[in-house]
């Protein structure tokens, strides 16, 4: 298992390095860190001085090497938008994002496994048809529109309908006022963003789980287990589900990137100061230093999740560890 994991880690290092190099060049080519200075009509000498200070006059490969050296030491430069150290900005944003991702994955995995298994075991039952219909709608919903409609019909309108003091669900930030920690306030803030983030993912994972479960239930060892007289519940959970989870893990790993992309929409709509909103604001402001660090940190996160999926894979399927 360890050597298997070690090989995977070694394999991903060059991918991350190359990706960060490409992104570095790409972002630098798109956004000029001296743009602000230029637009303030500074004379060409001071622009050149600034360029020299930032090292922009050197070859791009040297710049990248320099950036990489500083990056691994935690010196991620200074934001051109807020004049803050980028490291601190991203650390603060990551905390919000990690919360959303954590609850998002927890919710989508739980719901899709339950729905998928139920639909497979009770194939063509009325509830299975209902889930199928909902999944089709969920897959076709633009997530950002779902978020807006959820605010309208789950937060704003119920106040008018039921003459409430305040909305049941909040849609700004993750806490109100001085409230911190895990409490009712947190849940009321979390509900809509997590739902917006996961609606498409739940739809797609539950369909996938249903197909995987159907596939497994038709296999010979399930028939053998049934014939032996293994209790139905045990056949479904221990023999069936455990094997049907393996393909789901693959899909989960592949969808992590989409989940991070979904954060850009969710955090923008719900004013959560996480990574998605940081990307949105930095891109609008053309903040190259933040954007480079953002893409690399996001890539590292996605790679880490893929490794986690590999570990899960090994746990679920012992054959993988041997390979």
């Amino acid at each position: 298992m360890l050597s298997f994991l070690g090989r995977r880690v070694l394999f991903t290092i060059p991918v991350v390095l190359i990706a960060s190099f490409v992104l570095f060049i790409f972002v630098r080519a798109t956004f000029d860190p001296t743009a602000q200075l230029r637009s303030s009509h500074a004379d060409s000498a001071s622009v050149a001085r600034e360029k020299e200070r930032l090292g922009l006059d050197r070859p791009v490969v040297v710049q990248y090497g320099d950036w990489l050296g500083k990056f691994v030491h935690g010196d991620w430069g200074q934001s051109e938008r807020t004049r803050e150290p980028v490291f601190g900005m991203i650390r603060r944003a990551l905390w919000y994002t990690v919360q959303l991702i954590f609850w998002g994955i927890l919710l989508s995995a739980t719901v899709s496994i339950f729905v998928g298994v139920y639909s497979a075991v009770k194939q063509y039952s009325p509830l299975d048809y209902t889930f199928t219909g909902l999944a089709f709608v969920g897959l076709a919903l633009p997530p950002f529109w779902f978020g807006l409609i959820a605010i309208e019909f789950l937060a704003v309108q119920p106040v008018n309908w039921f003459h409430l003091q305040e909305p049941i669900f909040s849609f700004v930030g993750l806490h109100s006022g001085d409230s911190t920690g895990f409490n009712l306030d947190y849940v009321r803030h979390l509900a809509l963003p997590v739902l917006t983030l996961t609606v498409q993912i739940i739809a797609s994972w539950s369909r996938f789980q249903r197909a995987a479960m159907l596939d497994v239930l038709q296999s010979d060892y399930i028939r053998t287990a049934r014939a032996k007289g293994v209790p139905r519940r045990q056949v479904i959970v221990k023999h069936g589900l455990r094997n049907a989870l393996i393909p789901l893990v693959t899909v989960m790993a592949l969808d992590i990137g989409a989940l991070f992309g979904g954060l850009i929409i969710t955090e923008t709509i719900f004013s959560i100061p996480g990574m998605g909103r940081l990307f949105y604001e930095s891109l609008l402001a053309g903040d190259a230093t933040v954007l480079v660090a953002w893409t690399v940190v996001t890539a590292l996160f996605i790679v880490a999740f893929n490794l986690l999926a590999d570990v899960l894979y090994g746990v679920l399927d012992p054959r993988v560890r041997m390979a």
Binding site: V137, A140, W145, I149, G261
Partner: protein
């Protein structure tokens, strides 16, 4: 061979199809249906795995597609949407940008079915005109990325080695950064003209299709008929275009259809964030972006219709894709 009772017991859907199938309506029973390749579930045990052996592949395909009720309804819905949007000059009750400042924003009513915005522009008319761009982007992106993805995937899968490694490692790079982020950055770099949006979206979308194609080609190129073609002296180009690609037509068409849906949603997301379609152009996503601030106000109706239009279009496209998948490969269709 699975006995008929067994099929009927495990799969009511299939059982219904057996009963209503035109070919077997003559009383020959399900046996004949299987033999004719209607449902290869049990019949094609020793077959080549490329689908039913049939008198006419196209006839069977059409028959199976026509039996997929939702796909048929969706096809009609899509046709209506396309005719409505691209015929907006005839159907739209008002002109594209016609303003009525004295009128201002009014809720949906008899004269303005979908209401008007703060400039008094009729939302139904705008919706139809905006749909032109949304649908156009969806279809063009799907076409371009399917052509490019199929070509790249086929080349990588067929020639293997370096070409294959290059393709896979290149697409790996794009798997570790969210699509939306790459697309937003790329649009910031290349600009946001309509044609640029199409090219940039296609520039990302082809990779998924290429990976799927590569897998298909990898397994197909080991088949006997490819070996036979090679032995007969066929060139790689001929083998790929004449022998391999026709066998992947099902995958290609399903992928292309689903790419239309994905492109429409992605474009609307980018436009919503402000990185996509720019004024004076408008798409459904752009309309939603303009209306974002009206959540919870009396003008919230501006949000409903463009979003509903996207939902309806994507839903219909997905159903057609589903119908195509069932029609091309009945075994996979019951997922």
């Amino acid at each position: 061979m699975i006995p008929e009772e067994e099929i009927r017991r495990t799969d009511p859907d299939l059982s219904r199809r057996m009963d209503t199938g035109g070919i077997i309506g003559t009383g020959l029973g399900a046996q004949a249906g299987v033999e004719l390749g209607l449902e290869p579930g049990g019949g094609s045990g020793g077959g080549s795995g490329t689908g039913p052996v049939a008198r006419s592949q196209w006839q069977l395909f059409r028959r199976r597609f026509l039996r997929h009720r939702m796909a048929l309804i969706s096809l009609v819905v899509l046709a209506l949407l396309i005719v409505g949007c691209f015929g907006a000059t005839f159907f739209a009750p008002y002109s594209k940008n016609g303003q009525d400042l004295l009128l201002g924003p009014v809720s949906p009513n008899g004269t303005h079915w979908f209401g008007t915005d703060e400039l008094g522009r009729d939302q139904l008319s705008r919706l139809l005109y905006a749909g032109q761009l949304s649908i156009e982007i969806g279809i063009t992106v799907a076409l371009l990325s399917t052509i490019l993805g199929t070509a790249m995937g086929a080349i990588a899968g067929y020639f293997g080695r370096t070409t294959d490694q290059a393709l896979m490692r290149f697409t790996d790079l794009f798997l570790i950064v969210p699509d939306i982020a790459i697309l937003a950055l790329a649009l910031a770099y290349f600009g946001q003209a309509n044609i640029t949006i199409i090219l940039v979206l296609a520039g990302i979308f082809w990779m998924g299709i290429a990976r799927v194609m590569r897998g298909q080609v990898l397994s197909l190129k080991e088949k006997e008929f490819v070996e036979a073609a090679r032995a007969a002296g066929a060139s790689p180009l001929r083998i790929i275009t004449r022998h391999i690609l026709p066998n992947t037509i099902g995958t290609i068409m399903v992928d292309a259809t689903l790419a239309v849906a994905a492109a429409i949603i992605t474009e609307s997301t980018l436009s919503f964030l402000g990185f996509g379609v720019q004024p004076p152009n408008t798409s459904w996503g752009k309309m939603l972006s303009d209306a974002e601030g009206y959540v919870g106000t009396s003008k919230a109706y501006l949000l409903y219709f463009p979003g509903f239009a996207i939902l309806l279009t994507v839903l219909a496209v997905n159903f057609v894709g589903d119908g195509l998948r069932d029609a091309f490969d009945p075994q996979s269709g019951r997922g």
